[in-house]
């Protein structure tokens, strides 16, 4: 039995409170002992807005909480990207090396589950159709696409439909969606059209931030669509 930490990102705790439990259930089904890291943030919102001092203050708390753990599973692609590529750059000298060595121990949820030695024993089964949204940070910063699709491919009975313009951003971009709403909405509308064309009524992604945004748009325009995270989908496939 492996011991693993699970990071519940701040915005997911606020917007999708059940997701940490879903992720925990999957990790426990793999036979792991799970420690939850919550009440922390990777600092990305401030970092992306140019407020690096504030991002460092906040990100340092996450690194401290993560320090005792050999592996920390992170269920959100954009947090994973912030931690792996940017958070360590907020520190100088020795501290930067220290931060990087902790950051390197974060593993994306999909990769962790896919490559877990007990992964084959999960017995995932779920009949139906989902569309897949390939989140930008997972795709380009972490190269997660193949792992996520492989994991979805393990779910017996599940048909995964790819989007025609999979590589296009959904228009969220954190504070971008608030600072430039007209542009964000136009991007989101293009993405929703792309999702609707697949015919699927459930959208799955490795990044809840995109999903929350698309969900907000889908409800606003009256499109029948639900957005599920990977842990949610896998939990439904467990039983």
């Amino acid at each position: 039995m492996a011991s693993v930490a699970l990071f519940d990102p701040c915005y997911m705790a606020a917007l999708n409170p059940g997701d940490a439990d879903n992720a925990r259930r999957i990790l426990e089904a793999l036979g792991d002992e799970v420690t939850l890291i919550d009440g922390r943030c990777c600092g990305q919102p401030a970092f992306n807005s140019g407020y690096r001092g504030e991002a460092r203050t906040v990100g340092r708390e996450l690194l401290r909480a993560a320090q005792p753990h050999a592996t920390i599973v992170v269920p959100s692609g954009s947090c994973g990207s912030m931690i792996a590529h940017f958070l360590p750059t907020l520190f100088a000298g020795e501290r930067r090396l220290g931060a990087q060595s902790i950051a390197n121990r974060f593993v994306s949820f999909a990769s962790y589950v896919l490559h877990h030695p007990n992964s084959g024993n999960l017995g995932l089964k779920l009949a139906g159709v989902v569309a897949y949204h390939d989140a930008c940070h997972g795709r380009r910063e972490l190269a997660l696409t193949a792992d996520i699709l492989a994991l979805l491919g393990r779910v017996e009975g599940l048909e995964v439909r790819r989007l025609a313009f999979e590589e296009e951003c959904c228009g969220f971009g954190g504070t971008f969606s608030v600072k430039l709403p007209e542009i964000s909405v136009a991007m989101m509308t293009a993405k929703l059209n792309d999702v609707a064309a697949t015919g699927a009524k459930v959208l799955v992604s490795g990044d809840f931030s995109c999903l929350a945004h698309l969900d907000a748009g889908a409800r606003g325009v009256g499109l029948k669509l639900e957005s599920w995270t990977l842990p949610e989908l896998l939990v439904r496939a467990l039983s």
Binding site: P17, G39, V58, E61, G128, F176, E182, K201, A216, G220
Partner: protein, 588 residues
């Protein structure tokens, strides 16, 4: 001139509301990006890394390469000038122009950067924009919206209206007719003009030659017709040698327009007899940028426009929203670096940080990371960020300083969102359809079973084409794809322009003309161009051409002259023959 009033947000909102650029731009760009990546994939596997290395070397040795090129220019009788500021550039060019009254200008982004056309007109000089897209946006008066397709934001109907306003008599808005109308205006101007101003894509230090790429033939006219040719370019647009220039060319046209090479690729040596040639390198902050480790790589840019072609923000808000001669991701990085201060401090916000620009950049510029650094710089310098925003982030950081406090704040947020989601929308003006998220809203697994049939979507997947290994077979196929007739023997016509190629390129279907065969005047005047190609001289990729380039004037022809400046529809036979024939036969 571009409108620089207001913030990026205001300009973008105005463009989206009034012009709806995405309707025109998105389908064009989706197709272009798909074609472009297919074109790059079929090139040499190491093309991007070689191009990137060639540009990196140049940026690391800028001053050294400039001292080499200055000597080589002297040897070739080309004037060498460096302008420190935009005002210097304008002053130098006005001095070089002397008494010239009619000036034919082709597309140059640095020309836009220094406000050249405007400044020369102020001085009473008659300047004609000779690139079809530039000619059109010059009438519109709002500046180019794309670095390689200036009139991309305008559809054919708008263009017809604009041309009519200048007195054109056009019965319909057929892009062929519109393009040819502008072609004729430009052609007539060249019959009587004193000087030409062009840009330069790459200045080659080791040989002192200038590489200029173009499709229409207006640059060909400019470098061969008037007595004076002035090229204006950025101080960084230099490479070490021919191999480096070819590496850049190998990715430039595929990334820009999904062409293998542009119709004309010039390697200009010294001036023709009786002609004068000068090159003005504009610094305008580039030496300063080169000293900044975080941003110096932006100088590797070859101005292909792939970053804007792929950028979702550019597609939605259009190029004019940037209010800068440089638009899209490269514009959002370059503008605040070239013009520090408040003016462009908000442009780095014009990105969702999706990283697509970095992914497609053929010379490996980490554009989205530079955008992040520029955002931080703007906050640090006070050029961006309101007092309220600063206070907000400070409070946020305080809230997340300890886990207990953070949990409480998170829970409060969750409670606040519950219930309000249905009532309050993020932006009250009704234009934003999004609803606030509802934390923990229950999901309905039965939806998994209610999927409908997928709706067909036009996805622009280019046909996978297997390329033959044999260079002659490949050349035949690629040349035919460009509309070039390839034959083994030919009955000549009296008005044919008969040329012998020094070499040819299989992967691009191009022919290389050197020395007198590269002479532009007779080439452009010909009704039909017939080029003899010795099959033994066909190389596979542009980068293999180095040994054939010689020392003097050279010209690579890749199909007939063409334009795609109106809705990206290709119109062939602009300046120069529409018909090109290649005769494959062993040289006598």
């Amino acid at each position: 001139m571009n409108s620089r009033r207001g913030s990026y947000k205001d300009r973008a909102a105005r463009e989206i509301r009034d012009e709806r650029p995405a309707a025109t731009v998105t389908p064009i760009m989706r197709k272009l990006i798909a074609d472009s990546s297919a074109m790059l994939e079929r090139g040499p596997a190491d093309a991007k890394s070689r191009a990137s290395a060639a540009r990196a070397y140049a940026i690391d040795h800028l001053d050294e390469l400039h001292s080499i090129i200055e000597d080589n220019f002297a040897r070739r009788d080309i004037g060498y000038h460096v302008a420190t500021t935009p005002a210097d550039a304008v002053r130098i060019i006005r001095e070089l122009l002397g008494g010239a009254r009619r000036v034919a200008k082709s597309k140059t982004m640095v020309g836009e950067e220094v406000g050249l056309t405007h400044a020369l007109r102020e001085a009473g000089i008659d300047v004609l924009e000779t690139d079809i897209g530039e000619y059109i946006v010059d009438i519109e008066g709002r500046g180019p919206s794309h670095i390689t397709a200036p009139a991309l934001h305008l559809n054919r109907t708008r263009i017809q209206e604009m041309l009519q306003r200048t007195g054109a008599n056009l019965p319909d808005d057929d892009p062929v007719r519109l393009s040819r109308y502008v072609r004729d205006v430009v052609g007539a101007f060249f019959q009587d003009c004193d000087a030409a101003i062009t840009g330069t894509n790459v200045a080659i230090a080791s040989s002192g030659r200038l590489t200029i790429v173009e499709n229409e033939g207006n640059v060909s006219l400019g470098v061969s017709h008037p007595k004076l040719h002035i090229a204006i370019t950025g101080y960084e647009k230099i490479v070490a040698d021919e191999a480096a220039a070819l590496s850049v060319l190998e990715v430039l046209a595929p990334s820009a327009t999904a062409q293998p090479l542009t119709s004309f690729t010039h390697f200009l040596a010294g001036p023709l007899p009786g002609q004068e040639r000068h090159v003005v390198f504009v610094d305008n902050g580039r030496s300063r940028i080169a000293r900044d480790e975080r941003y110096r790589d932006v100088l590797k840019c070859i101005r292909c426009g792939a970053c804007m072609n792929s950028c979702p923000v550019y597609r939605v808000a259009g190029g004019l929203s940037y209010g800068s001669p440089y638009m899209g991701p490269i514009g959002a990085v370059l503008s605040p670096l070239l013009w520090p201060g408040e003016r462009y401090a908000d442009l780095p916000q014009a990105s969702s940080l999706c990283g697509r620009c970095t992914e497609v950049c053929p010379v490996g510029i980490p554009l989205h990371r530079m955008l992040l650094d520029l955002r931080a710089d703007a906050v640090a310098s006070g050029d961006a960020g309101s007092r309220r925003e600063k206070a907000g982030w400070l409070a946020w950081a305080e809230a997340f300083r300890g886990a207990t406090r953070a949990r409480a704040v998170t829970a409060l947020g969750r409670i606040a969102l519950r219930g309000t989601a249905r009532i309050i929308r993020p932006h009250g003006d009704g234009a934003d359809p999004r609803m606030l998220p509802e934390p923990g809203a229950p999901h309905d697994p039965s939806l998994l079973a209610t999927a409908t049939e997928p709706r067909p979507v036009e996805t622009f997947i280019p046909i996978a084409e297997l390329w033959p290994d044999d260079p002659i077979a490949l050349f035949r196929r690629r040349a035919a794809a460009l509309g070039v007739t390839v034959v083994d023997s030919l009955e000549q016509r009296p008005d044919d322009r008969l040329l012998t190629a020094t070499a040819a390129i299989a992967s691009t279907g191009s022919v290389l003309l050197t020395g007198e065969h590269a002479a532009r005047r007779p080439l452009l005047a010909a009704a039909r161009v017939v080029v003899n190609v010795d099959p033994a001289t066909i190389v596979r990729f542009p980068s293999h051409l180095e040994a054939y380039l010689g020392e003097g004037d050279a010209l690579i022809l890749t199909g007939a002259s063409r334009t795609a400046d109106i809705e990206k529809q290709i119109v062939k036979g602009i300046h120069g023959a529409e018909e090109m024939v290649v005769v494959l036969q062993k040289n006598a």
